[in-house]
Symmetry: C2
Subunit: 109 residues, 2 copies
DNA sequence: CGAACACTTAACCAAACGGTTGACGAAATT
DNA sequence: AATTTCGTCAACCGTTTGGTTAAGTGTTCG
């Protein structure tokens, strides 16, 4: 019953997890390094990373004894598309943007 | 400690609440009408609406004995902006879009 | 006035969440 | 071989969440 959007949005609902994602924007990181700035146990961070992985927002790959965490921003795409459905996020004007699309990228439509 | 983004994302994490928002996209609705399609009590829906209101995603105005629910899509904006920070959601090309903005709406930049 | 309608609130419940500590396994170092 | 490092797992704990039912508050209508 648990849809992908449920996983993604509830993953994003926690400030620690959003901070982790922001950190991973810079570069891939080991679990220990992800945990370092936070005032909580490594086990807690490990759980957060597990949740982010289940949501598809990051991937984890073990090389040697260190497990690398990698941002998977594509997982945000579906959530972003859902929100776009509510419109009005365009900084300017949707009609003008559509005209722009037709003019500049007719092959993508 | 609870930031606005926490409220918005956790509000969006529930499929019932997302469905309610989608319904309100059509038109403003009374609480009873919002509850009608769902297989749960009116009290449960009332709680969901309270949460959506606290998150700023809807507003409620009582006229007579019926309380009208209105979508407030602006509350999604900050969340949308946060996600945009992870890039790659632009359907086309961000650079081209920025050039478009400068050309079409120089006064907004 | 009294009854029906539109909601909200309170009390309760099971399950999930966010954190802890402690034990553990697997890889690297010495 | 022994030890340290990296990370997960299990058990536990208090709080929050998503639902229930039942009672209560207004508001409208007959």
């Amino acid at each position: 019953m648990t849809e992908p959007l449920d996983l993604v949005f509830s993953a994003l609902a926690d400030p620690t997890r959003r901070a982790i994602l922001t950190m991973l924007l810079e570069d891939d990181m080991a679990v220990t390094d992800v945990a370092e700035p936070f005032a909580m146990s490594l086990a807690a961070i490990s759980k957060h990373l597990g949740l982010l992985t289940r949501a598809g927002l990051i991937s984890q790959e073990k090389r040697g004894r260190v497990k690398w965490c990698k941002l998977e921003p594509d997982a945000l795409k579906q959530a972003s598309v859902w929100m776009q459905g509510f419109g009005q996020f365009d900084p300017v004007n949707l009609d003008a943007f559509e005209r722009f699309l037709e003019r500049e990228f007719p092959e993508k439509l």
